[in-house]
């Protein structure tokens, strides 16, 4: 495979192959962040302390902001917000199934553990995008990295506290057993285009490499706290990356798009429309 040091150029300068690879990278970035944010909002008024309500609400706002940045980059390629979100079908999306699952009822351990598994993966992915050959990805990455910093810290601090409590530990362990296979789908491919993503320098680590780094890091941290990380686990099926999703996503998607539908909208009107 040929190495390349070329900047891919502006959105309208991409070859078909480049465009396909750029899109493949962008869609999972946008969809993962968007759906993660949608789920976080559940906890906004249900977290165990006011401080946690705020922290989770803030995380959700961060992820929504990042989703907006990524969807903006996708719109530069010609897509519209309507087709991307409000007039989409559930199986248009390529986010990992980890972010679409509803939280186990009343289970704060689930929310924290999930956030931890996701945010470590996110950190590793962003690091691999920091020198991307596609400007719109590169430029957004450093901004997002700065805003993601404390997500992992927040989750780690909670996990340390929960590890000291028997009941909380039990819940975290149960969440780990339940969610681990879904977390692995974060590193599943969408197709042959995966090779091009790395070959064209859009991202500088393969899915396998990122998964290895994630496994090493999360296993070391969780094991140290006394949790047992599932061994030889396989990614869940469907993966989400394959456009196939659990029924939970279909429900959430329905809810997410209902206001637009109920209002009979055909476009996402903006706040400051001239007319």
């Amino acid at each position: 495979m040929a190495a390349t040091d070329a900047d891919l150029g502006a959105p309208d300068e991409l070859s078909e192959r480049e465009r396909e690879a750029v899109e493949a990278q962008l869609f999972r970035l946008a969809d993962d962040e968007y759906v993660q944010a949608e789920r976080y909002t559940f906890w906004q008024v249900r977290a165990p302390t006011l401080e946690s309500d705020l922290a989770v609400a803030n995380n959700a706002q961060d992820e929504l902001g990042h989703a907006r940045l990524w969807y903006d980059a996708i719109q530069q390629l010609g897509y519209s917000e309507e087709s991307l979100l409000w007039e989409s079908e559930p199986d248009d999306f390529q986010h990992s199934t980890l972010v679409e699952l509803p939280f186990s009822e009343g289970d704060w351990g689930d929310a924290i553990l999930r956030g931890y598994l996701y945010d470590v993966a996110e950190e590793i992915r962003l690091a691999a995008l920091a020198e991307s050959s596609y400007e719109a990805i590169r430029n957004r990455t450093s901004r997002i990295q700065g805003e993601e910093d404390y997500h992992v810290e927040h989750a780690e601090n909670w996990l340390r506290r929960m590890a000291d409590d028997e009941e909380a530990s039990r819940r975290v362990q149960a969440a780990l057993d339940r969610l681990y296979s879904d977390a692995l789908t974060l590193f599943e491919p969408v197709g042959e285009v995966e090779e091009d993503i790395v070959e064209l320098g859009i991202r500088d680590a393969t899915l396998d490499e990122m998964r290895a780094e994630w496994t090493e890091r999360t296993t070391a941290f969780l094991t140290d706290l006394g949790f047992e990380v599932p061994e030889n686990a396989e990614p869940a099926s469907p993966t989400g990356r394959d456009n196939e999703h659990t029924e939970h996503w279909h429900d959430l998607h329905e809810e997410m798009t209902s206001a637009y539908r109920n209002l009979g909208r055909h476009e996402a009107t903006t706040l400051m429309d001239d007319e």
């Binding site: 190495a3 040091d5 902001g65 907006r68 940045l69 010609g78 897509y79 197709g191 500088d204 476009e267």
Partner: protein
């Protein structure tokens, strides 16, 4: 979201390949990049350009009585035959007042005699941080009650 051109029907999202497998390792290098000095504050500007900067100075952040110029959010201003192009960033990607601020900036530029049309381009690099705030901006932040290092 910004109002990019509406996509025609053919913009369907890309689909996963059902026979997908993870790919092997590839080496590549990225090129060196240089970034221009930011922010732009209009220092030394003359004539029409100076007037546009004066108008931009009047635009304040919706949450703090500090000019967007002093906050270091304006990265560039170009004037070309009555058309103003402004590059700017925001302090936070999840800013809920994004459209409001961008509109305020465009309107401020267009309020200047000699500017017919203003385009505001939202940019995310170089990264914005507190050290891009001007001295005057830091003073305004302190007055507002935000502690900023001297």
């Amino acid at each position: 979201m910004s109002s990019e051109p509406d996509g025609p029907e053919e913009f369907d999202r890309p689909r996963a390949d059902p026979d997908a497998g993870p790919c092997g390792y590839t080496e590549y290098e990225t090129k060196e990049r240089t970034t221009e000095e930011v922010p732009a504050t209009g220092e030394g500007a003359e004539g029409l350009e100076r007037e546009v900067w004066a108008a931009l100075y009047e635009v304040e952040d919706p949450e703090m009585p500090v000019s967007v110029v002093d906050l270091g959010l304006i990265y560039g201003l170009e004037l070309d035959d009555g058309n103003a192009t402004i590059d700017m960033t925001l302090t936070y990607s999840g800013c809920p007042a994004r459209e409001l601020i961008l509109d305020d900036v465009a309107e401020a530029a267009e309020s200047v005699d000699g500017v017919d049309d203003a385009e505001v381009r939202l940019v995310w690099a170089p990264d914005w941080s507190l050290d891009l705030v001007t001295e005057q901006g830091k003073e305004a932040l302190r007055e507002f009650g935000i502690s900023v290092e001297r």
